[in-house]
Structures are given as structure tokens and as C-alpha cells.
């Protein structure tokens, strides 16, 4: 099985639609720029920003300070959608999710700011800004979100068929076999060290609300820096810290195991990834073990020599099935 055809079980949207969606993610930021130019000398220093009913407002914000915050978020959303397009174009599900979320958040925020501006202008002062019919404007980002959703399309899944039979290790009736490999990831180890250093720094500065999450993050990342993958008569297991299982696949759940090339951008990134219908433990790009389960799901883990464990898993399953 080659790298090109192994992991694609989703259809990517056409390139033109992808670019269209990435451009659509910049529209909220562009709309804010237009509004700023249009309203620059008409809006007071403050705008109404919160209502509890359709009547008078009960919250106010600095006009241009709130504009800057929301403009920055809209720029970031445009950037996220564009980078996602460039980095995740082989992973349609992840790209669609990220781009869709970025567009939705940006257009919601931009519209919320615009509603405050319109209400303030119509009322003549922030205090007199009545929400009224303007609440209906919030339908605009919903409609825009739906438009972008249609543009990027739904994730279609096509079943993959194995292109070649995978090797199966023959096992004698009285024979027991166990395979085990510890996976080390220098990248995760450095990341854990960095987080731990941050936790210690904040700890010394007595900033518990920053130190505690960093310390928890360091432990979680450290767990992923030292993982053990085992295959034996019980099936496949992935354990952190040598004994805490984070993934178990029983032999009777295994349909087929194969050695494939794991491309992190096709499996949703690095670390423990969970996507619809499949999950993966990706520590680097390179060879890995892909298990097709009887319920149609897939699990992948990056290993330095996946041929032996794949053949063993197939052999054990074949013997267990009789």
C-alpha cells in the first residue's frame, strides 16, 4: 500500500471552493474596515453593546477599543482559515471544521459590533440605543455561515479497500507471541520540558492560576513522550507511563492490520487525534500501523517498523478466529 492512496477516505472539496472559503473568512475583517471608514466621525466614543430585551441597553463599550479587539479576532480568523487551507488541505474534515468555525466566530462578532453601532447611530446616543428590529441582523452571520458551509461542502466518506493483502505471521497452536515497542518523541519531550519550565517560573512568581495548568500540560505531554505499544493474545494496547492504557483494541475487533505511511496532515495533526470514524496516535511523519476494525473504524499509530506488528496482529486474529 502506498502513501498516496492509503489514508484518503474523504473527498476534498474542489480547489476553487477551498480558496473561495478562505477568502470568505476575510470578509468579516473587510466589512469592519468599511464600517470604520464609514462611521469614523459619526459614532460617539461609546456604543451600546449589551441588551437584556429589545428596549434600552444595559452595557456599553468603547467604540474603537471594541472595534480593535473584534477586528484583531477577525484577522486571526482569516489567518486561521488560510493557514488551515495550506496545511490541512489533505485532511478535509479537519480543514472544514477549522475554516467553518473561524468564519462563523468572525462574522458573529463583526455583526454584533455592527448592531451596536447601528443602534447607537439610530438612537442618537449610546443610552438611547434601542435594540428593536436590529436583533434580526444576527441572522446575517447565520446565513453567511450557511453559505460558507455549502461552499466548503459536506465531508463525504468513501470506504477504502485494501490494495494488497497484508502479511500474516503463522503461529503454531502452542506458541505465544508478544510484540512491544516503546515510542520516544524528542519533540514532545522538549515541549514537556518547556511547559515544566513555564510552570516552575510561574510557581516561583506565585501565579498559581498559570502554574497549575502548565504543570498539568507538562505531565500530559510528558506522557505522550514515552508511550508503549503492545500486541499480544489480548489485542493491541497503547499505554502511557508503561502501564496506563489509553487505547485498547481486542483481537475480535480487528478486521485487518497493515503497515502504512502516516502523514500527520492526513490524520489531523500530531498527538492523540480523534476524528469521525478514526483515531490516531501520531508522534511523527513516517511508517505506522493502521488497524481496520470490524465496525468500520480505523486506528493508526506511528511505529518505526510496523511490518512485524501488523503481521503479528493478523496472525493472532486469524488464530483466534479459528
Amino acid at each position: 500500500m502506498t502513501a498516496a492512496n492509503s489514508a484518503i477516505d474523504e473527498t476534498a472539496p474542489p480547489r476553487a471552493r477551498q480558496i473561495g472559503a478562505a477568502i470568505a473568512a476575510w470578509v468579516p475583517a473587510a466589512a469592519l474596515l468599511v464600517l470604520r471608514w464609514w462611521w469614523s466621525d459619526r459614532l460617539p466614543d461609546q456604543v451600546a453593546s449589551h441588551w437584556s430585551g429589545l428596549g434600552r441597553p444595559d452595557g456599553f463599550s468603547g467604540t474603537w477599543s471594541s472595534w480593535w479587539v473584534i477586528f484583531a479576532i477577525c484577522l486571526a480568523a482569516g489567518l486561521v482559515a488560510t493557514v488551515a487551507l495550506l496545511v490541512l488541505r489533505h485532511s478535509p474534515a479537519a480543514w472544514r471544521g477549522l475554516a467553518g468555525l473561524a468564519v462563523f466566530v468572525a462574522s458573529m462578532l463583526a455583526t454584533a459590533w455592527a448592531i451596536g453601532g447601528i443602534a447607537t447611530l439610530d438612537g442618537g446616543s449610546p443610552q438611547a440605543a434601542r435594540l428593536g428590529w436590529r436583533v434580526a441582523l444576527i441572522a446575517a452571520p447565520l446565513g453567511y455561515g450557511a453559505f460558507v458551509w455549502l461552499l466548503i461542502g459536506r465531508t463525504a466518506r468513501t470506504p477504502t479497500t485494501p490494495t494488497q493483502p497484508t502479511a500474516s505471521m503463522p503461529l503454531a497452536p502452542g506458541e505465544q507471541a508478544a510484540w512491544s515497542q516503546s515510542l520516544r518523541s524528542t519533540m514532545f519531550l522538549w515541549l514537556a520540558a518547556l511547559l515544566a519550565a513555564g510552570a516552575i517560573t510561574f510557581g516561583i512568581a506565585r501565579q498559581a492560576q498559570a502554574a497549575v495548568p502548565l504543570a498539568i500540560g507538562a505531565v500530559v505531554v510528558a506522557a505522550f513522550a514515552s508511550i508503549r505499544c503492545t500486541i499480544d493474545r489480548r489485542g493491541l494496547r497503547v499505554c502511557v507511563f508503561d502501564r496506563i492504557p489509553i487505547k485498547r483494541i481486542r483481537l475480535d475487533q480487528v478486521a485487518d492490520a497493515s503497515a502504512e505511511h502516516i502523514d500527520p496532515t492526513r490524520w489531523g495533526g500530531w498527538g492523540y487525534r480523534v476524528m469521525p470514524g478514526r483515531s490516531a496516535l501520531v508522534l511523527r511523519a513516517g511508517p505506522g500501523l493502521v488497524v481496520d476494525m470490524t465496525d468500520g473504524r480505523k486506528f493508526a499509530v506511528t511505529l518505526s517498523d510496523p511490518d512485524t506488528p501488523a503481521a503479528l496482529l493478523n496472525g493472532l486474529r486469524a488464530r483466534a478466529a479459528g
Partner: protein, 116 residues
């Protein structure tokens, strides 16, 4: 690292396990500094007693192949020579076969000297 044991073989289970681990190190499937699976884990995986695995680990420690410490588990020692390990493995299999054929220690040494 693949460990296979055969209950039908006359070779004791712990020796089978030790031989497989030695071979895995010789093939560089397991490298210096790498941790071997915990004895309890490997025992459960193979359906053998934990103490059988520990006996294999102790033998490997006595040969200077691994460090075995409480709490740290079994770790492949630095500077373990794969080629040397392969030679040890061959010697072990040779003496096992020679003993089975009824050769004494002196006969084995003589045989080695003559085949040089």
C-alpha cells in the same frame, strides 16, 4: 521487539524469552537506554508467570546486557555490543547442541580449537 515462546519446546520458557530479547538487541530493534516491558506486563502478554520473565531478565542482567533496578524496570545498558551478543547467542546454541550430543566440556573446547 517480538518475543515468541513455545510451550511445546524442551527449552525452558525463561531461556526462550532471554534468547529472543538478546536477538532483538543484536538486531538493534531495541537500543541502549530503551526500557523493556515491565515483567508483569510481558508475563500477561505471553500467558506465563511474571517470575518466569523476571528469571529471563535476571539472566540478561548477569550477562551485563540490561540494568535491572526496582522502580526503574529493565533498561538496556549503554555500550551493549550487538555483534558480541550475536556471538554469545551462537556459542550458547552450539554448546546446547554439543551437550545434547553427549560432548564433555573438554570435547567442546577441543572441537572449537580444531575448527579454528
Amino acid at each position: 521487539m517480538l518475543v515468541k515462546v513455545d510451550g511445546a519446546s524442551p527449552v525452558p520458557l525463561s531461556e526462550q524469552i532471554a534468547a529472543q530479547i538478546r536477538a532483538a538487541i543484536a538486531r538493534a530493534e531495541v537500543r541502549a537506554g530503551e526500557r523493556l516491558p515491565p515483567a508483569r506486563e510481558l508475563g500477561q502478554a505471553l500467558g506465563v508467570n511474571m517470575h518466569t520473565v523476571l528469571r529471563a531478565y535476571s539472566a540478561l542482567r548477569d550477562e551485563g546486557v540490561i540494568d535491572l533496578r526496582r522502580g526503574r524496570g529493565a533498561v538496556v545498558r549503554d555500550g551493549v555490543d550487538g555483534a558480541r551478543l550475536r556471538l554469545h547467542d551462537l556459542a550458547r546454541r552450539f554448546t546446547l547442541e554439543a551437550t545434547r550430543q553427549g560432548l564433555t566440556d573438554d570435547d567442546i573446547v577441543d572441537l572449537l580449537r580444531r575448527t579454528r
